[in-house]
């Protein structure tokens, strides 16, 4: 069982010694059941840190955001940043290392074990609890969560309320870390990976289109999906940016030549292209933290969309994102034996 006191003590030690600039971890939120990301800089704040199944967010995002923030502030504090990372989060960090987003020395990875389970899906849990309101959730052995509601604490089978991606998780333990808390429970296999994708592929083309058409139709273009994605770290999105990179030497010509691939209007065609470009740009980079799907206010099944190509990466190209920071990326490499029969 993960000992959060040890985690707190470790974070405290790092901040006391000043070996890291910030520790990104989780703390209890005032807004609801799910934990909130916390970037703490004072040793005293380490007492607020928690780790339980409500810690859904992928904190690798904050390594990316912190880098931007440091650059903006022109800070010369080169100390590393510590981050609490679950198995999936550690794979995201590996991809970021692979893409030279930061150096290994600049990040101190505090690995945490999901204890053989994973994180909770708040929507599933709410449905399961009906009228009762969850206040807290804790690990309860290798296959259950202890859920505290206004009516007391109960044990619920983890498989019933766990996030889909955790049910299909291929590496529940951090693959990259400086220190790990909790027990490595490598052997797990709750669901076969990619089962939702495979089920969707079996549907007819018309049904698939009807399904996605409905999803793209209601996209708000709030960009929460890419804002929460550690891999969407581009300062300017090629397909539809809400930010523009303008350097002192950027010419008027360059500004004028920005390509408008799609319109900002929330039309189906435009949103479809936005989500598809994102899926393609994530091919071989998505580590299935499923944050995009979780944060979508209108429940667009983005995990389903993005794991479609992850399935190809894994099954066709034997490429497992986040497994090795030294590998070339999926699309900047090839094999002679890649599929060829689809070409006429």
């Amino acid at each position: 069982m993960i000992d959060v006191a040890q985690l707190k003590a470790h974070a405290k030690g790092l901040l006391e010694k000043g070996t890291v600039r910030t520790v990104f971890g989780y703390r209890k939120s005032t807004a609801g059941l799910l934990a909130e990301p916390a970037g703490i800089t004072e040793a005293a704040q380490a007492d607020d840190l928690i780790f339980d199944p409500s810690c859904v967010q992928n904190l690798a995002l904050y390594l990316v955001n912190d880098k931007k923030h440091q650059a903006e502030k022109r800070s010369d504090d080169k100390r590393p940043v510590a981050v609490v990372a679950k198995g999936c989060d550690s794979r995201a960090i590996t991809v970021l290392l692979q893409e030279n987003h930061f150096s290994r020395e600049s990040v101190h990875v505090i690995g945490v074990s999901c204890e053989g389970t994973g994180v909770v899906d708040a929507r599933k849990l709410a449905r399961k609890l009906g009228n009762k309101k969850a206040l807290a959730v804790a690990f309860d052995g290798a296959d259950a969560f202890a859920v505290t509601t206004n009516e007391g604490t109960q044990s619920i089978a983890a498989a019933e309320v766990m996030a889909e991606r955790c049910l299909e998780c291929r590496s529940a333990h951090p693959t990259l870390s400086d220190v790990v808390f909790g027990e490595a429970k490598a052997e797990r296999g709750l669901h076969t990976p990619f089962q939702a994708v495979k089920a969707k592929i079996k549907e007819s083309e018309e049904d698939r289109w009807a399904y996605w058409s409905r999803q793209f139709d209601r996209c708000l273009r709030c960009y929460a999906c890419r804002s929460v994605c550690p891999m969407c770290y581009c300062d300017e999105c090629v397909v539809d940016s809400i930010s523009f990179v303008i350097a002192p030497d950027t010419t008027a010509e360059e500004k004028a030549n920005r390509i408008k691939w799609i319109e900002r209007s929330p039309a189906k065609s435009e949103s479809a292209m936005y989500h598809m470009v994102r899926a393609i740009h994530l091919a071989g980079r998505c580590i299935d933290c499923a944050e995009c799907e979780r944060v979508c206010p209108v429940n667009i099944p983005l995990r389903l969309l993005n794991t479609r190509l992850e399935m190809e990466a894994f099954e066709t190209f034997q490429y497992n994102p986040g497994s090795d920071p030294e590998l070339p990326t999926l699309t900047s490499s090839f094999r002679d034996t890649d599929p060829n029969s689809f070409i006429r």
Binding site: W261, R308, L309, R344
Partner: protein
Amino acid sequence: MAKVEQTAKDETGFEPKIVAFLCKWCSSAGSDLAGVSRLQYPSNAVPITIMCSGSMSPMFVLSAFNKGADGVLVSGCHPGDCHYLKGNFYARRKIYLVQKLLQFIGLENDRFRMSWVSAAEGAKFAQVMHDFVTDIKKIGPQTRLKAKRP
């Protein structure tokens, strides 16, 4: 049955709009050979010559569909024959992924195609064009990804 349907669609006078991305060294040269050999094929596809199929960004494909293309073709050198050594191998992997994604969201399967056409394959180029237009005529206009344009 399929044949009846095909004639029915043909009679509507639907002329598909196709964008064909041809690599400069093989497929575009192959289309030149088709021209020199006076091989006739339907005029629906408008060629855009790119340096190499390896330079084919997925954005081009999606954008063409967004702008109302009924079909998109990417054609490059046969594996091993790339003028730039291995550009077509990168293209193959990328196009494969794009195709899988388009199929997944439910775009009609036949609308996006890749072919290998060498500079010597004028006849093959004409055949590829002919087949593509025929297949797209069967499925009709592309409405799924096309932006609504008043």
